[in-house]
Symmetry: C2
Subunit: 302 residues, 2 copies
């Protein structure tokens, strides 16, 4: 299972009741933060999360509304006693941006590791999940992120017996480990059935609709996508500014057979996103308005 | 007159209901911002100020809680259409810090002028007021700021007549201008009485009590000083961390004959500053707790 918390839903500038677009995913005690605009550390506190377990920070791009909260966040992580390194993933230039912002965050108690994205698609492997960065289409280099929690096949007693796997190894092989016994190697595929559907989560803002966005949203349990503008007549403006409308985000989620879509990154010129939700739902009924602090726990399907 | 707005009262990290320590002073349509931590732009919006008229930004020092809101603030000033240059005053290193932070605020529509403080005292002259930066005592180089609005003497008809000042020049000389008439130079001291008491405002956080702080608070109409810790028993901790307690701030204000003291820059470990106010008031009765959005208009004395 994963816990998702949409920390903020604002684009461009934070409002009194709308933090900048950012989301947190927690899985097995590890936390991944997507974007970190000004005020994200307050949003995180409001949502009752702590700073210390943030192991990975994924930056979509370097516009200030997605990254200016980084120095304060890193300092607060240090104040909570973090000592383990933090991995920051972002477009080419991440090292320079992080190093510049850290001018005002000296003396951190932990190391920062940087992964600069070079290819249109890059996957990072963690204990129990993967994060795939995929290039989208904005005014500057920008990436969306897909987080997958794979799920092994069911334990198949008949298969284990047919493969003569000693019973003492069953539990290790069930955890997808490999085991040696009396000079022979046993692998998990000797005891497990077909891999089952896992959990897929997508976070992407600041882009026009792209083939990459559609492909990465395929079958997602939850996609958090930007809906910078609600009104359809804003589409031409969205094209100029390289953003998406509610309808465009809903269209992506629908075509990708996603299970649920949360809209985010609302323009400060749109005080009432609810005015435009019904049209998006006519395209993709599982469209929901994101709001600051909106949470969901996603389980493996039964 | 000047309008003062204490935008935030938090030290170290912003809380849900406590923005980071920052204050705005408005005089004759010009605005001066003191410090700009994460979230200051939201605090400014909440207090119904706009970004565009901010002409001067005074930074006390470069700890993130005093400066991390700068890129977002500058972008928002640009979004409101500012074209006039902005002066940023701060300790040695301001140029590097501002330039580093502006990595995520490219393409601003206005120029940034930097004044790096080198001397223990430096005064900047603006139309109708002065700002004096004075060195205080923190773990890093840190300055307090004093803003003075001087007030000319009263127009003295008898003096003007005694000095044979042509009546046609009276109004210009009253505005402290100099005038030429029939080959002769006339100055404002030929028509004005003794200079009168003006308005003095002081903003200082992150320091131990210093002689400079005491001197610059002398006779201030309002001093906004840090009260990082409320309890007296925190004094030894304050000494180590190079901050002030409520009592120490009240003592400075009392000795300097200030008219009013607002406490600010509360430690996040102190959720209820009101628990400690009475003791500070026993030292200096005009001590008030600062709170986010607290405002005051200060007029010339009658």
């Amino acid at each position: 299972m994963i816990d998702v918390c949409l920390l903020g839903t604002g684009g461009t500038m934070p409002l009194k009741s709308r933090w900048l677009s950012s989301a947190l995913v927690r899985h097995n005690g590890k936390c991944v933060l997507f974007d970190c605009g000004e005020g994200t550390q307050i949003a995180l506190k409001c949502a009752n999360f702590t700073f210390k377990p943030i192991d990975v920070i994924c930056l979509t791009h370097f516009h200030a509304d997605h990254v200016s909260g980084l120095p304060g966040m890193l300092l607060s992580m240090g104040n909570e006693g973090r000592e383990q390194p933090v991995l920051i993933i972002g477009p080419r230039g991440t090292r320079k941006v992080v190093s510049s912002l850290c001018t005002i965050a000296p003396g951190l108690t932990f190391d920062i590791e940087i992964a600069e994205l070079i290819n249109p698609d890059e996957t990072f492997y963690f204990n129990g999940f993967t994060i795939t960065a995929f290039k989208v289409n904005h005014a500057v280099s920008c990436y969306g992120y897909r987080l997958d929690v794979p799920r092994a096949g069911k334990f198949d007693v008949e298969k284990a017996k047919a493969n003569n796997v000693p019973m003492a190894l069953w539990s290790r092989l069930q955890k997808e480990e490999t085991a040696e016994y009396e000079g022979k190697t046993y692998t998990s595929d000797m005891v497990l059935g077909e891999k089952r559907k896992g959990i897929r989560f997508v976070y992407s803002t600041d882009t026009r609709p792209t083939e990459s966005l559609y492909e990465n949203c395929m079958g997602a349990n939850l996609a958090i996508l930007e809906g910078m503008y609600g009104a359809d007549e804003k589409e031409s403006h969205a094209k100029i500014k390289m953003h998406m409308t509610f309808a465009e985000a809903a269209d992506i989620a629908s075509k990708a057979n996603a299970q649920e879509l949360w809209l985010t990154h609302y323009s400060p010129s749109m005080p009432n996103p609810q005015d435009y939700i019904s049209e998006a739902q006519s395209i993709f009924p599982q469209t929901q308005l994101g709001f600051d602090g909106k949470t969901k726990t996603i389980y493996f399907p039964e």
